[in-house]
Symmetry: C3
Subunit: 324 residues, 3 copies
């Protein structure tokens, strides 16, 4: 038996780290979700398991080529839709879909990339320039994220999809570039022939971002702006998106103006509180919510939140998240 000493780069025995050039990480979360709509209320268990697989190789010239896929299972009731064969299952016959079926359980669409220095080219299930624009996810409310009313572009652009094919088969392409305090991101796909970009600049702790999109669809986002920074113990963020012309339909669609004001406050060493208020032309009422995240150490945390959505739905969740 020959004894050897490993180099420090060889293997690191912490969570989310590589077996060779394939790394496995992710998170699990579980807890309780209360939903109160005009049709009635329900309290159910909510859970998600996400295993993320990152595979990479680096050329002699220092270019990293890689792929990211996820194996994810949510227990929520909504089906994936017929195009991917997803059918919700009402296993206990109470009128709700209890389980999305097996369609959730394989890998999702693959994002391939080539990266060198501050430049990255992505292909397939792309991140999307508007989805990745600073200020679009100013907070992550509660355990489950709630209604994402605080995401101003309202998913009216390309985005990485964790549990279906996403843009993988749709010729999605993107270029990301950063240099010092400046960053930009251009993405394009066959979906509505979208071409989108964002530009962001950070100065004195504040980040200003501008997003633009050209699309064949009237309801897609046209432009967006965001400003975010820190004031004392608070992180503040404002975002606005012009999601096409207002279609004058309240309670449906997502067209017209959409603005979001959000904040995060550190409360003690291990706890923060997040809050938002948002409104949009298609909202029935102003949307708002507040949450807390309490760090339990070791990648685990206790999380909960309450919100009143733009569609007048009340959501309350509480549970545990663990990263691995």
């Amino acid at each position: 038996m020959k004894k050897v000493l490993f180099a420090t780069t060889a293997l690191v025995a912490t969570a989310g780290v590589a077996a060779a050039d394939v790394t496995f990480g992710g998170y699990g979360r579980f807890g309780i979700l209360y939903v109160d709509t005009a049709a009635g209320d329900s309290t159910d268990i909510t859970s998600r398991f996400r295993l993320q697989i990152d595979a990479t190789a680096e050329s002699d010239a220092g270019v990293t080529f890689g792929a990211r896929v996820r194996i994810q299972q949510d227990n929520d009731g909504s089906a994936d839709g017929t195009t991917t064969g997803g059918v919700g299952v009402d296993a206990d016959g109470d009128g709700d879909n209890d389980f999305r079926g097996r369609q959730e359980t394989g890998i999702n669409g693959v994002r391939f990339f080539a990266r060198s220095g501050g430049l990255e080219v992505g292909v397939g299930n792309i991140f999307g320039a508007l989805e990745f624009m600073p200020g679009m996810y100013p907070i992550d409310l509660g355990l489950t994220g709630h209604s994402y009313d605080y995401t101003a572009y309202n998913f009216r652009g390309d985005a990485y999809d964790s549990d279906t094919g996403g843009a993988a088969g749709l010729n999605g392409v993107e270029v990301m570039y950063s240099a010092g305090d400046f960053s930009m991101h251009v993405s394009a796909s066959d979906v509505n022939d979208r071409l989108a970009a964002h530009f962001a600049y950070t100065f004195s702790g504040w980040t200003v971002a501008l997003g633009l999109q050209d699309s064949d669809a009237a309801g897609d986002t046209e432009w967006a702006v965001s400003v975010g920074g820190s004031v004392g113990i608070a992180d503040l963020s404002f975002a606005y998106a012009k999601n096409g012309d207002d279609n004058n339909i309240v309670g449906a669609g997502g067209n017209g103006d959409h603005w979001v004001l959000a904040a995060r406050f550190d409360v003690g060493a291990a706890t923060n509180i997040e809050a938002y208020v948002a409104d949009a032309d298609y909202f029935a009422e102003t949307s708002y919510g507040v949450d807390f995240n309490h760090d339990l150490g070791g990648g685990t945390s206790l999380r909960g939140g309450i919100s009143s959505t733009g569609q007048d739905v009340t959501l309350v969740d509480l549970g545990v998240r663990f990263n691995f």
Copy 2:
């Protein structure tokens, strides 16, 4: 190159061990299965591949949060059923389904848990209090398990499902507790509004267990008892379950009384022999079987068994299992 010494807890280079806090393990088995029914007999290859993924994180207070999922593929002929989209495939046109299709191949329903000391709370695709009651799996017959007639509660309660969603979307919850020689397990789910519990106590090498269940379904298990222990080279086990009232249907259902007597004998250093006899109100005849398991070392074993089931089917299997 900086040289380091790893701590012993860092990485252990044996089977089934972690890449960080995500561990991959499982087993494969393959061999021959002979089935003789009133309709005729067949001899086919049987195989299973199971990759089990356990992901965990531990909070500073010592609570372990985690999730267990499996990626499993059996080659048996039965389809998963239409609710999950599974369709068996008769690829060679001989009238039997040869392959369950792709539905087998994703991850199954997730079991989430929080564990601290002797207490564990499970959520989702739960283990189930009757399924995990001592004495319900006194033996594991042959290569494939055969008819599981030796499982007295007859699957008339919640159980972890390795190849479909299981209770994942069904608000399954359970609490497991052990202290010294005593253990208990309470589980509940939306399926038939089941509430089940078992209590077990071990003294002088013998384990006595009692199971109870309240359910909306007439055929579900009402109560069960088991006793198991060792006498010389033999492990003996007796179990009885009251699976609802006898419906007087022979050859179908699973209602009424069900009892099982089972034994395991060590024969030499690397071989054991298992045998059982069981009967139930719905059996057409008494069920019995015998098997052998021969350890080949390194996690591999040769296994085979023969049984005559309660439905008058003869099963013979022989093959290899390897754990990884």
Copy 3:
């Protein structure tokens, strides 16, 4: 904290290596594919992600038991076919299937094996004696492999299937044996009751192989021969297959004679060029193509090729492949 030194066999920090006895490896590739048919031409992104899982255990007597599965996702437009539930998705409504749907994303059929010295027995999703005959894959054209017109047996025999069940449920069995310069491979399955074998012998750097098959299907391969070796900087290969009697249908089927001449030339230290010419009774015209593979180091390479297929389709591809 106890410090230890690892044995060299413990863990090796390079790509494709084990987390214990389960190893994860594979490759990704992405680039551009141009297709020109009589009906028109198209240029699209092409991509594949393959994660290969090899699980093994070794008995005390030195027999290795194991299983191989793959999780693979292609973005090509063809559906898997209705038998496995695969449905192509035309997400952008341009008349092409953009995405195979979720059916691609689970594990494929499992190949189980037992191996000792030069002897290996395989069960399930078998490799196949004709598929693994030397000379059947003399080259791997471009990024995507193009039409595989250079595979003389034309897939008219059993083969390992990376993205569906393959022969897993079909009682596929095979035996592979090698001793010095001689190797042989016998495979059998329920598909068309195929029984196939190949025998190969290597002398002075040249490999000669003979394949034989008995099958219930008129169009299956009857016999095949191949010769391959090196002359200076070139690797040359010739293969011929008798794929049943010529059915006199041009542009369809795959019956009759099929021959292939292929070569690989090293051009500089990191680049090679491959070329082939092939013809078959069912080809509308002679098929030919040429490619290059340029090694970028670290398991990455730049690849591209152009071919004119036997069905008068022009294919051009260019892109990157990375092994992990």
